[in-house]
């Protein structure tokens, strides 16, 4: 079960979809809207997806998880549109014969989802709104994995108080180290892209 939905996520559906008689463990991860972020009082989140590609990328994550861990089933559902505080925006259910594999694979799946699946999150807070993932240093942190956050510069968030985009031109990008420099800085402690949940070799 892999899908996008504009309706509230029904966790029972995922548990049923991932359930399997050969599994002894089922891990359910639920990502929910938190009422605060970086000192801001969050009112709601709004998710936008690239339909088609988002599901495809989620499928790939499920396939990769099954290749890396001995799993029974993987179910991933992501909500789009407004997600109020406390409600689920994403849920992942993974079943396996033994719990360690299910825990690790679920962790991998959510981490990977947040890196590659074309779904965007806009935070609405008291006094403004901001696209999350877009504000670091004026360049996309997601694509510059080696970028060492906070290593040697201030973050300048592109927070728009009015909902317009004028705040985007803050010149923050000028202070951003180039990709090469970023990688060098990262040598001080930020792992390479390959650091993601390496996972065990399949046991057999």
């Amino acid at each position: 079960m892999i899908r996008l939905t504009s309706e509230p996520i029904l966790l029972d559906d995922l548990v049923r979809a991932a359930g399997d008689p050969a599994s002894g463990a089922l891990v359910l991860f639920v990502g929910t809207t938190r009422d605060h972020n970086q000192g801001r009082q969050v009112e709601r989140l709004e998710y936008e997806a690239y339909p088609g590609m988002a599901e495809r990328e989620m499928e790939k994550i499920g396939e990769e998880a099954r290749r890396r861990w001995p799993l029974q089933k993987v179910a991933i559902v992501h909500r789009t549109g407004v997600v109020p505080v406390g409600e689920a925006s994403v849920a992942i259910a993974v079943s396996s014969a033994h719990r360690a594999d299910a825990f690790e694979a679920a962790r991998f799946a959510i981490d990977r989802l947040k890196e590659v699946v074309p779904i965007w999150k806009k935070e609405f807070f008291e006094g403004g709104e901001v696209w999350i993932g877009d504000q670091c240093c004026g360049v996309g942190a997601w694509s510059d994995a080696a970028h060492a956050h906070g290593a040697n510069h201030e973050h300048a968030e592109r927070v728009s108080a009015s909902g317009g985009s004028a705040a985007g031109r803050d010149g923050a990008g000028d202070a951003h180290p180039g990709a090469g420099q970023g990688a060098r800085v990262a040598g001080g402690g930020v792992g390479p892209p390959s650091a993601i949940a390496p996972g065990p070799a399949k046991r057999d």
Binding site: E115, K121, A141, G168
Partner: protein, 97 residues
Amino acid sequence: MKVRVLFFASLRERLGCSEVVRTLEAGATTGSLVERLREEFPDLDGAGRFAIAVNSDYTDGGQALADGDEVALIPPVSGGQDRATGGPEKRPETERR
């Protein structure tokens, strides 16, 4: 050839539109398309990095385009702030200049 170009999230808001259709010369690539879009949409500069997908697959600036292709400019996805532990295996982003 004609291609459809999609803009999402912050890019959509910044450029003020969600998609355009453009006629390109034979031999056009994702890179040449982006160059052209930069001329057409000056706001694309300063928009930060974005990834490119053609027909729903991530790619880079060197992919040849074909008639009917759907090209998406993909700003950083929602995990950006949550300390994603790595990037996409392909690193298709186009860097701003």
